[in-house]
Amino acid sequence: MNVIQATLTGALIGGLYALMAAGLSVTWGVLRVINLAHFGLILIGAYLTFQVADSWHLDPILTLVITVPAMFVAGAAIQWLFDRLRLTEFNSLLVSFGLLIITIQVTSNIWSADFRRMSADVNPYATQSVAIGRLVFPVTTLVAFGLAALVVLASHLVLRRTFAGRAMRAIAQDRAVAGAFGVDHRRLSVLLGGIVGATAALAGMVFALSNALTPDTAYEWFGTVFAVVILGGIGEVVGTFAAGILVGVISGVVSAVWSPAAAPFVLFSAIILALLLRPQGLFAAGGVR
């Protein structure tokens, strides 16, 4: 019973990982930018949720009205900067690493390095849960999973069905040729950067719902989220979702059966093994690369 509960909870938490990883995966696969600053946006999204909800006594989910546009602008601005600098894929990793460090330090200067958490009266979701038989699901994990599924489904449809999506896939395959056929990659990539920023706001909100915040958490996401991106296949949104669930299940089960401290050990060992066997990702079907 314990293991089943851990598996299901892990899978639901995996939704949060997928939500965090989806944006990173898309910018890497489509725009050829490894945007570590994405973690910074998630962090700021989380802190903004906390701040707005706490000081204006707003429902945390309603704070999205503010955080989503803000993060859209931030994400678009970062992408615009990358475009202007004409960075190679690898240099984008270094530049965005610099940006991430600045973001974390600024967050720490504003909100301090201590743990901050929304007070219980503005955040009703933290304590609620849904029980099905003897299985219990915290509402926060359901929200995470639901939002992740929504984002993945929407972006999958956009990429497959719409003109902008086709144009983006064309950019992913060959930017120069796409440009020759009239695809304005500058405008599209800034738009995509904005959308990815908006997903960072969602992920930040979900994280703030169930966790206490400290600036250094951004570093803690690093390993897990990159694991999800690589396992899912770079640029593969649906693969990212599946990988997020898998990683969540592994972490959950190892934590329950062995010890929470052992989870990263098992997880990263599994990732290295997976990379050895399938370097293109577990769930990649050839994909954009």
Binding site: L94, F222, G223, A261
Partner: protein
Amino acid sequence: MIRRGGIGLLAAFLILAALGAFSDQLGLSSFYLILLGSICFWIAQATSWNILSGYSGYFSFGQAAYVGVGAYTTAVLSGRHGVDYFLTVPLAGLLCGLLALGVGAVAFRLGSLRGEIFALLTLAVPFILAAFARINRSIDGGQGTTVPIPDVPDAFGGLPQFQYLLALLVAAVAVAAAYAVQHSRMGSALAAIRDAEDVAEVMGVATFRYKMLAMLLSGVIGGVAGSVFALQIGFVTVESVFGLTIPLFVIVMGVLGGRTHWLGPVIGAVLIVTLQDRLSSYGLDAWNSIILGGVLALLVAVAPDGLYARLRARPLVALGALVVVSGGLAVLNVWGDILDWLVVGMLVASLLAIVLGSRLVGARLPFGRRPAADVAAAEVAPDQAASAEAVLAEAVHAEAVHAEAVPAGPGTGADSGPAPAGDADDAEEAAAADGAGEADRLGPVLIECRQVARYFGGVHALEDVTLDIREGELVGLVGPNGSGKTTLINLLSGAFRPTRGVIRLDGQDITRMAPHRIAHVGMARTYQIPRPFDSMTVRDNVAMAIMFGREPLALHRARPIAERHLATVALDHLADAHPADLNLHQRQLLEMARAVASNPKVLLLDEALAGLNPAEVDNAVRVVRRIHESGITIVIVEHLLRVLNQLATRLVVLDRGTCLADGEPQVVLNDPAVIRAYLGRQAHV
């Protein structure tokens, strides 16, 4: 040059060691000793990182693994088990060396490992190790461990002196190692890996071995320095040694100072550590990371080649700025003390070097590692090139006249020109007889392909190709696009392995051999799109092939030979230029010179004439012919049938992965099946 650097390094070490040894007499407070010790620690770590990541281009985000394992080895062994401190230092190095080899063996075995994946893999390693330290109670279970103070021999004075001297020694050894690597074969090999790894491998560089060596060296240095770090901080916790700030620092130092030179990380470490110290002393700790992150982001965008190249381009300006600013502040005696003056002076000098240097170095040159003299040489080059072209044109003209005067008879091997137009039957008969006669004169079989197949997923790029190529032949490989020509070249050179079948070169089975060993058996190739080592001069590009060829030579002995090979393709006047300054034709000639320099038995030319104008094609054909006459068997992929008709002794036609025709050019080109497949229904030869 080599000696000067070595002497400078030794002198710096002795002066700095004297500072520590006589610190009491000199009135040097322990504050300065601790600061210097910290600089030494970061120099060692940044250098350890640079030996792998800077030299080979594989960026590691896992430097914390070495610091952590090194520090924990010392802390646990000496703190919990009472092992002598001095014994734990080499043990730390050993453990980190083993760790590095393990990570390298896993990472570098990955097929088509990309730099970003390596970076993320190395990022994961400290996470695993940190988690391991937290769950394992016999390490410390996450509690932290105190490092006992060892018995300091009296000769060292007090503990601060001892710590400083130890850190200095480790830093000096690390820098000396980086210096030695850069000036050795390994340095050349790592630079080639950074520029174009698969080209280096196919040329004969044992890339896996050199990457592993770099990993090992990096790990040992990182571990030993980590062990010294444990003593410096006194109390080791998972957070302090496995944290992400360590890779961040070393990467910033490497990028700031410059990654391709041994002095780069030293410059970076000195600047960053002193700057950090000054910021803390003014209570600006909160700005530390912001400034570091900003420096990293800005530098990658503005000056990715780092400070060292800029400083070397304008050494006097930088030195002058340092002396004027620091000296001026000292004389005026404003704004803090000597450290503040130095830091301000260094910052101004660096800024000046970056701003002035970008006009000189950065604007035009992608790698920016060139001293000014080379740039001047490259700028002179076009005139020389023009005159050389005139000479060449004359030579071509003379040869053309010569060729007209003495028509090349059929079957003179290398020079079998087009058979005189006339009775086709006669020509065919002559060719057939000629072919039989030629087989006798040709040497033994060099390349044997037996039912070679290669699939890419469901795509059958090659299917059951059986082919013999004999010594002395000049085989033209033709076929429509996608017929498998380049795939065959890639299989022969070892870049891909066949799905099925056997390939032999000179009697040796090379089917599953590593490309660099195939190169040593006697295979060389060029690329359709030339792929020179961009950071090296034209001369060194060719010298690389000699250094890592069948009879390896040292760089200084390979260079004169390289010049001879450049002369045979008429590129010797550009020996000091960088590949970026060459036009396409010159780059393709460089490819050929480089391939020939490895002294191959077989040379594979992949569309070596593509994209050239007619005059350039003629020149390239002359070069190919000359190479062939020197006794090298050639396989050439080419679309220009006019050229192949003159050049090749034999044509092999591939169509949809199978061998469609094989024989004397005239015969093959008149084969109806070939005409249908390759030229289309209506075409005429």
